[in-house]
Symmetry: D2
Subunit: 362 residues, 4 copies
């Protein structure tokens, strides 16, 4: 529980936003994986702060130091530990939060749970900054998956009602997502960036939806009931701060469809079973059916806004106005895109490593 | 993984739709809980088949036999095992499915995963019938939670676009849900039932959305990151067949809101911290904030429809038409309502039992 | 925790000695295993009560009913559930135990832990009878392991200081163990049986040591540190009632050896790496080295003896004499032999299913 | 699995003997524990190398840097991460080991498991050096346990047949263990040190037995069957390199006792249930009975000896002589004493945090 994840691949995340450092231990990654560190760094850079008008002004290199598990460029079978030092911190900005919790944040629940001993600065262990070690782990998993032809890509499907072109669920073109601002339609991307800039100017924030596709997965991955792909993915996805919804394939839209519309007809293509449509998002009975796994993640608007808000003084037991200071993203959706990819990679690799093998075929 | 769930309360589900029996083992329930068996049976009856025009014609009592764990009306600390015998089965209806999988069902993925050895009759272990033992476990957890003043209630929020009145997220009136057809607005309920009857007549099916509320939960339940309430609940909820989406509070709607709209202002009420609105669904940073936990679950339309569909013959490696026989619900949403309550009860009780206690308060 | 075991193969045990029934759910066994039920029954019969002068007079068939997971003679991939009904019970023998706990038994600790709600009859969930479902699970695992050439056999190494011939640790001849009384030396067996009869006559009991060998295991099974073969095996072995010690290879004897005596020299045999001796018990660094895995298990004397003993009255808070009635084995070691084999089979199969695969070789 | 341990308190160990650093993440430790860092350092110093004639000549400060989880001297509820940099390494000593494995070491099994990619230097992740982070975690747990009056102490019971005075199992005097060389009898200690010096001079090594006592534990801790105290403790104890046996109370000696000798009579003492003797080692039915928990751990002689040994050349596929170089302890038992205490503290605290609470008492 808590900040650990995985049944076969075991991830343990540590750190607070303004403590000495953040990092992760990843236990169970097989030996012999060639680790491409520059590629990993490029992946981490997609999440890093300070990348444009829409992001926080906090600047940190976020280059991990690997403390174990990698030898001469290959995984050696031992747990991989990585550390990112916190360098650019301003804990003074947060002095008041233990008494006067920020609406929409974990300040109040941490106060209740940890009895006042929690590290409140910058959200402490609840900070979005903790997604950096998730990306280290996920970036390594992505490299392992790529060796088996499995690829994971995400894009912004929606920000504040402005919609990108969705993936073709039968054949998602991951390469069409722009490397700069992660959308397929550059026009939609420009509108979104403009909308984020407006929110920033207003001292407000906006939320959005991220769509992710996993291609190259064979049929048969996942277990029935509570071991299904949906449940396993959702558990890690809800571990990303600000995620409030997860749906697979047609998801909530399926509630408005009939069975005859929603059922994906089977067909044979080059001797392979495929489905004509992919409302199921590549998952039937919790198990992959060989079609792309497609899912959407709802991200709430950043709770840290500079507009005056109503809070309470816990010490005085009365209402109290609050004005949040500090540097915050007006929209975290763009930076959350690689985090969703990383989380998916960790969960999928964990499922593959633990996949029950049939003893033989009838 | 697979058909087990829980970190502190350990649930193991067994059985196939048309095998000798289905059941569950629930390990970790504390000793000394007075078990109200008639109340449990009434809870199970809400899920049972054969309850009206919208449900399958299959009739089974679904009365569990308790094999262990209950002594003289109280839990005794040992694992609780319960068995429901399968009595009314017609496995002949399903003879063809191993070759010609039903679209939208787990027939094909089971065939790939289990190499032809799976029990295909009635969906085998993937059958919705396996939600009966989930309800036994959940019904026991509901009784344990009720002793601490925690209540869980769900209703149909939407079927095929026909919407019920939603719960007031700040103060959900669980008692307003009708015991007959689980909606708040009887008018909406009548429309839904009519829509289901239409689908049945057309040999089709419809999906829907279930909304669930948990009241009486203290603040501070749940762990950060991957141990959060959202992730834990979603893992078990996606274990319910046909669930394709889970969202908390405003969920996907949050993607279209600004931070100033979505953030729930804190206030003091009778010396207690409360929020004025509840867009967060009672969860901040993965941890309960003392407000009702509210979530929605998307249920896809029943894949078993009697209209002709396109499938494949796995043996012959070519397309093949399919007409599904057997008795099927034109909409499983009404029967899934208590299953959602049961699943939520199991996950919440598991979180409470494993809740990290603060050593002391500052 | 508690009555569940396994990371990949998940075992859940249920039942009380004198409740309606006992049984198990085994989740994660791969599909396609041909189950030889008569062979399984012969394995269970080795543990069954009523098998000679040394065993309890309680007679029960202990034939499991399989409720799920087996179809047409093969595992179908779904969890396997099995139930044994309790038929021959005499709960009146145990009426006094909740007040006056038996020395050496779990009566008192159960009373403290479960607050008086525990099922005290016959030891309830703590009874040695609960090893019957362990043997069902283990018997299935033994059949799965046999397909890969892995065999597990145990014998009584010592009862009350009377020693059997030990296994040759380099090449243990499992077939030399007698099917009647599980020893290699029939002379030692006769002495042991005589010693047990003496104890029975005296209203007393004796303990012993079981030695177990696993042959055919490839090198490389097990994980470093807490995932090692020794730790995994010991966890399940200590789950067998009355087990108080577990050692691998030379075990406690190694404490009296020098490194030059204890280190097993490597050698090449038919192109295979082998060791000349096997003080390590087939495990180096927690991981199998390809030699037989050998371990010993200490079993305490049965605590249920008919001699008068000193106990306390919990209700009155004072010392109280106790005379235990009922039918009890004067030595459970012979019946524990197949239980040790079963437990080892479950742990070994779990390790094999979860074995981390190297991505490639240098 | 692998290098992680714990159900409620989650420990993850990382590092290789000669990599950049070693360390641990401990997730689940409650907030509000005052951490006494000087006391922790004194505990770590007991395990540190370079402490006398019997230990390795490798000198390292082994002072951990805490990266997270501690704020202003108190645990803050977030995972605690600690790092020890490796400074004094001589990897050249180990260049040959990948081809020519050391008898009694994990070199060969690591080679098989990790396909040649493992970090062979100094045993890599299998090195005894990895017990330093176990001691960091255990040292923190010891401080948490001490707040509830629970104390853990160990001593050398035996080295090469030279025996220390054992703990009184009913009332072990932990304070009688010498802080310099961890024995009760200074005469036995002198003999042991002399025996170790002899082994060192001979280029050989010796093994031994460690006895550990846990006092102050309330009755009722632990779960039945596989969740028992013995199984949980043994799993972590076998994770300590060189441990080959674990026994509780009378352990293997119980095999030579009768029930009337072994059963511990109950008695009342100041209104408390106690046992007159403690052959059970404080555990009945897997659950603590309120008496001290006593156990012994067998430690094999250090496999690294400088005498010539027989090994194989894996590359050439033939026998090959081996002379191990490098600095090694002629006996690791003294340094393993605090490691056993640390491991016990972690397992006991994990059990306490996960202890099932009875809903109420009859």
């Amino acid at each position: 529980m808590s900040s650990t994840f995985g049944d076969n691949l075991k991830l343990s995340i540590f750190g607070q936003s303004h403590g000495p450092g953040i990092g992760m231990v990843l236990d169970g990654i097989p030996a012999g994986l060639a680790v491409d560190l520059p590629q990993l760094q490029r992946f981490l850079d997609r999440r890093a702060p300070g990348q444009g008008a829409y992001a926080t002004a906090r600047h940190e290199a976020d280059t991990p130091e690997f403390l174990s598990g990698i030898l001469d460029g290959f995984t050696c079978g031992a747990p991989i530990a990585a550390l990112i030092r916190n360098t650019d911190t301003r804990s003074g900005d947060y002095a008041n939060l233990a008494d006067c919790p920020r609406p929409g944040h974990g300040d109040y629940t941490a106060q209740v749970k940890y009895g006042g001993f929690q590290d409140a600065a910058g959200g402490g262990h609840f900070s979005g900054r903790l997604t950096a070690p998730v990306c280290i782990a996920g970036g390594l998993c992505l490299q392992w998956l790529a060796f088996s032809g499995i690829r994971i890509g995400a894009h912004i499907l929606d920000i504040a009602g402005l919609a990108d072109e969705p993936f073709d669920p039968v054949s998602p073109a991951l390469s069409r997502v722009s490397p700069d601002f992660p959308v397929i339609s550059s026009q939609a991307g420009a509108q979104m960036q403009s909308r984020i800039a407006d929110a920033k100017r207003d001292g407000d924030s906006v939320g959005g939806i991220i769509q992710c596709a996993v291609t190259g997965l064979p049929a048969g991955i996942g277990e029935p009931m509570f071991g299904g792909v949906e449940g396993h993915l959702s558990r890690i996805l809800f571990g990303i701060p600000a995620v409030k919804g997860v749906e697979f394939g047609s998801g909530f839209t399926a509630a408005h469809m009939t069975g005859s519309q929603h059922n994906d007809p089977f067909t044979m293509e080059d001797g392979q079973v495929r489905t004509v449509t992919n409302h199921a998002g590549g998952i039937l009975g919790g198990i992959t059916d060989g079609m792309p796994v497609i899912f959407q993640v709802a991200v709430k608007p950043t709770p840290s806004i500079s507009q005056p808000q109503q809070s309470v003084s816990l010490r005085q037991g009365c209402s109290a106005p609050l004005q949040v200071k500090g540097r915050h993203d007006a929209c975290i959706v763009p930076r959350a895109v690689p985090v969703v990819e990383a989380a998916a990679a960790i969960a999928i690799m964990d499922l593959i490593l633990g996949n029950t093998q049939t003893t033989r075929r009838k």
